[in-house]
């Protein structure tokens, strides 16, 4: 029974281009207080464009309605549990939005004098300190814009260190359970990727690793807890194996929400790792970003970090650009500062003990779900769960219902689906990460929904295959979208009615 939702009408809304009419305006500028300049005279006729064809012309009220209406077509954390595994969709505290908009922070120019940027620099320094403490590492760069960007930074750091030692080496080892960004990153950094098969428990097979690890291997990219939500119980041994052959260990920190305050990568042998501040540290996902992929390193990698580095000069912070071993900049300026402000605000709100408690609640939620659902869904790997649990659609597949179908049916039950079909080592994966910011009530409803769907699969698989039913948009044809891609609006393409 669907307990969590009821259908209600939502407004249709055309594209902005379709509701435009010549001369409608949503803006007004203050009058120009200097003489106007003729563009053609100033720039030459060749350089001055005609009107921007098709560009919107709508009023202010239409703009706000447009986006408000569209927003109602979205699911969001603010509406309920968002159990996308590996994404750590936790509550995004609103005080963080407020402080990030503090005028002198939001309007600070990256090139304004350091003497007038001490507050911003102090915030970054304090965040670096906190992240180093949390990860057990020695230094942190806040420059990378997201997790994948952090991975790239981290692998470049490894490469630079090895090059400095005389041999950049050829390969990066990556468990087959890894996220796609890991191999893509290794490739961008000029490394070949060698997959390490997981063992029967879904963990890195130590023997295979030992076999694969040699002097051509620059390092290992490992995710811990791994993408099954399982802590790599041999992590200390693993890092030793890699180090023994002169390699370095990169940890994908996407799953740090399982470890904060409980265990520190720096303490179990990791050389370099990234953090997704938009996951573990609660900054909003915003429909797909922005994020921050801060990278933490041990001492030996510090000289290679992107410049500039902040340092103290008397009672002032200054930027040091004079870092001969640095890999260079991975983006302009200093990082996604606005995201950094939010992450620090989150850390301050919890404090050290609160962060640990949050971790424990996250792990409790995942284990509770696992226990409640195990009777109904196949759990391919039985190792203890940390912050997420991964089922498979094995039982339901026998009825022709796949993980993607169950996911769509979950929508009718009022939930965002779990992560579908990842990690790849689980056939028909259902990857569930509740995070700590879910209460028992919401989780119980989620469990009941999945149990109810399991029953539907038994009694009426067609019902599940046709889902979702309660959404304004029924199942979307992604195949056609990819076959003949239409990725922008064009005037002719709008045969749809005005009220679409």
């Amino acid at each position: 029974m669907i307990l969590k939702t009821r259908p209600h009408l939502t407004q249709n809304e055309p594209l902005l281009f379709e509701s435009s009419s010549p001369g409608k305006k949503g803006y007004q500028l203050p009058p120009l207080d200097v003489p106007a300049v003729d563009p053609i005279a100033a720039l030459g006729a060749d350089q001055v464009r005609g009107e921007i064809e098709g560009f919107p012309e709508v009023s202010e009220v239409e703009t706000i309605r447009h986006f408000t209406r569209l927003s109602t077509w979205n699911y969001a954390i603010d509406l309920g549990l968002y159990p996308l595994g590996s994404c750590t969709m936790k509550y995004n505290p609103r005080v963080n939005e407020l402080v990030a908009r503090t005028e002198a922070l939001a309007w600070a120019h990256p090139y304004q004098p350091e003497s007038l940027s001490q507050g911003a620099m102090e915030i970054m320094a304090e965040l670096e300190r906190c992240l180093a403490e949390i990860t057990g590492m020695d230094a942190v760069t806040l420059q990378p814009a997201a997790g994948a960007h952090g991975e790239m930074t981290g692998i470049m750091l490894i490469r630079s260190l090895l090059e400095k030692r005389g041999d950049a080496r050829k390969k990066i080892l990556i468990p087959d359970s890894a996220h796609g960004t890991n191999p893509a990153t290794a490739h961008m950094c000029g490394y070949a990727v060698q997959n390490i098969a997981s063992n029967l428990n879904g963990l890195v097979d130590v023997a295979s690793l030992e076999r694969a690890m040699d002097e051509t291997v620059a390092g290992l990219m490992i995710t811990n807890p791994n993408t099954l939500g399982v802590f790599e119980e041999n992590i200390v041994e693993i890092t030793k194996i890699v180090h023994a052959k002169g390699g370095l260990v990169y940890m994908d920190g996407a799953n740090m929400n399982a470890l904060v305050g409980i265990a520190r990568p720096g303490d179990f042998g990791v050389d370099v790792m990234h953090l997704n501040l938009h996951k573990t540290f609660s900054t909003p996902h915003g429909g797909g970003g922005p994020g921050s992929g801060a990278v933490a390193v041990k001492k030996h990698l510090e000289p290679f970090l992107p410049y500039p580095r902040m340092q103290r000069a008397g009672d002032q912070w200054t930027f040091n650009y004079d870092l001969p071993d640095s890999i260079g900049k991975v983006r302009a300026f200093y990082g996604n500062f606005g995201v950094l402000v939010r992450a620090l605000a989150y850390i301050m709100a919890h404090g050290g003990d609160g962060l640990r408690r949050a971790t424990m609640d996250a792990v409790l939620n995942a284990n509770y779900i696992r226990h409640m659902l195990e009777p109904y869904y196949d759990l391919p790997y039985k190792a203890p769960s940390m912050h997420e649990c991964v089922f498979s659609d094995d039982r339901q597949a026998k009825k022709g219902v796949r993980t993607g179908d169950i996911a769509k049916r979950l929508i009718d039950y009022g939930f965002h689906p779990y992560t579908v079909s990842f990690p790849l080592i689980v056939h028909g994966a259902m990857m569930i990460e509740p995070t700590e910011t879910e209460g028992k009530r919401e989780i119980d409803l989620f469990v009941e929904a999945l149990i109810s769907i399991a029953e539907e699969v038994d009694t009426d698989p067609q019902l599940v295959l046709g889902a979702p039913y309660l959404t304004r948009t029924s199942r979307v044809d992604e195949v056609t979208a990819a076959r003949k891609p239409i990725v922008r609006w064009r005037p002719k393409a709008t045969a749809s009615t005005a009220a679409d």
Binding site: G26, V37, P39, G44, E53, F55, P56, E57, T63, I64, F67, T68, L70, T72, A76, I77, D78, L98, A100, A108, H109, P110, P113, G119, G136, A145, M152, M156, G180, T185, E233, I262, F268, G286, G287, G289, P290, I327, K329, V330, R331, F333, G335, N336, F337, A349, G351, R357, L364, Y368, T437, G439, P468, T473, D477, A481, A482, I486, V487, R488
Partner: protein, 434 residues
């Protein structure tokens, strides 16, 4: 703790289901030597009010309310109130990548509109859903050109934003993608087409030119593209000042456009988050990095949008992906989308014209270093740029960017920017400081 929605009794109930006696029990399987055996050295949790106070105190140590003449890739423009109204809606703020199209049509529709407007502005045929920023879009465009042409060399103009070129070098260093720079005309401040031509060859995958360039000069993209195309190379056009697109002829002759939308209602925010874009020709669509939203239908026949061509992306193609990018800058791209909707066709033009007028007013009578046509930035000669800035700071005005660090040959020069936000009175003060 206010972010943890459980009572102690609920925790106990849930632990019981898990067969655990305590929360610590849940971690008992972790190897002892991997565990932290002390409390984190982070102060106790703070109330909302203390957090606000802390950031206010830090903010008070930053500049506030200084008129500023800094540009150089980050521009001060008015920010319509609607922008925050829209992006503060929880449905946009607290959702993620629209993997599940049926409950993400809001985000998907806005991205489709974003892609469309970026195309309309740039004269390109397809645009992606955003890159991290303008600087990282440049190497992504270069890598794209390498894939398309099967060549490996990149020619980059020295008038491309210096930090963008640094990022390009960082990305390129391990990819066997050698970067060569070509110069600028010391008179005009525009690219030195002769130098470009001299360096072009059949090995060059892409020529990278920025317009308006780092000196504010509007480049002749047509000419640069003609040279590049003559040698079978692609022309990558870079922009840092999106407002210029309201007035300047779009780079229709470019093959790839890589730019930064910070000017579109994205606060300077000490360097980020911003939103980069990559736009290109239809024929290169399968080489574009990052997310793309496409139009399709749902099973009832209604128009619908979804992520598409994801076989380009890392989660499917892994090491063969067009890029490793995953999380992008969606909410920031939404800010730009709202901005474009608010200003619209006429507004963006008027805004650009105001910028043109302001910068020309400021430049008027000053000793301009370059003669080329400029938009809202220009380089001015002065014996001691730092001293001028000090003088202005004393009047609570932030001056321009001294160029010596980026261009040793221009150490007696300063880059000044004026936008619609700069008031005439402050401009007069700046003029009088030189």
């Amino acid at each position: 703790m206010r972010y943890l929605p459980k009572s102690e009794s609920e925790r106990r109930e849930m632990l019981a289901v898990c067969g655990a006696a305590s929360l610590e029990d849940l971690f008992s399987h972790l190897p002892a030597d991997a565990k932290l055996n002390r409390a984190l050295d982070i102060p106790d949790g703070k109330s909302e009010y203390e957090i606000v106070d802390y950031f206010r105190e830090q903010a008070d140590r930053n500049a506030t309310g200084y008129p500023s003449f800094l540009g150089a890739g980050v521009y001060y423009h008015y920010r319509p109130v609607l922008v925050d109204t829209v992006v503060s809606r929880g449905e946009f703020l607290t959702s993620y990548t629209p993997y599940q199209a049926e409950i993400a049509q809001g985000t998907l529709t806005t991205i489709f509109e974003f892609q469309t407007m970026v195309c309309q502005l740039t004269g390109m045929e397809v645009a992606n859903a955003s890159m991290y920023d303008g600087s990282s879009a440049v190497p992504e465009a270069a890598m794209m050109a390498v894939r398309i042409t099967g060549r490996d060399q990149i020619l980059a103009s020295r008038t491309v934003h210096p930090e963008y070129r640094e990022v390009l070098r960082t990305y390129a260093q391990h990819q066997g993608m050698p970067i060569t720079e070509f110069g600028y005309d010391s008179e005009s401040g525009a690219v030195d087409l002769a130098d470009l031509e001299a360096k072009l060859s059949g090995k060059v995958a892409a020529v990278i030119v920025q317009s308006p360039n780092f000196f504010g000069i509007v480049e002749d993209i047509k000419a640069a593209a003609a040279l590049a195309h003559k040698h079978g190379a692609l022309l990558v056009m870079v922009f840092t000042e999106a407002v210029s697109l309201g007035l300047l002829e779009p780079p229709r002759d470019a093959d790839i456009v890589a730019g930064e939308l910070q000017s579109f209602a994205i606060t300077p925010s000490y360097g980020g988050p911003y939103a980069g874009i990559i736009a290109t020709k239809e024929k290169f669509i399968r080489q574009i990095p990052g997310r793309l939203v496409g139009e399709t239908k749902d099973s009832r026949g209604n128009r619908a949008f979804c992520l598409t061509l994801s076989t380009r992306e890392q989660h499917i193609r892994r090491e063969k992906a067009t890029s490793n990018i995953c999380t992008n800058q969606a909410l920031i791209a939404l800010m730009a989308t709202v901005f474009m909707s608010v200003y619209g066709k006429e507004g963006l033009r008027e805004l650009a014209e105001q910028n043109l007028a302001k910068a020309h007013y400021l430049a008027d009578g000053m000793q301009k270093r370059f003669a080329g046509p400029f938009f809202n930035e220009f380089v001015v000669k002065c014996a001691a740029p730092d001293a001028v800035n000090e003088k202005l700071l004393a009047k609570k005005i932030i001056g321009g960017l001294p160029l010596g660090n980026f261009y040793p040959e221009l150490k007696d020069c300063m880059l000044l920017c004026a936008t619609e936000m700069n008031k005439r009175g402050h401009m007069d003060e700046v003029k009088s400081a030189f």
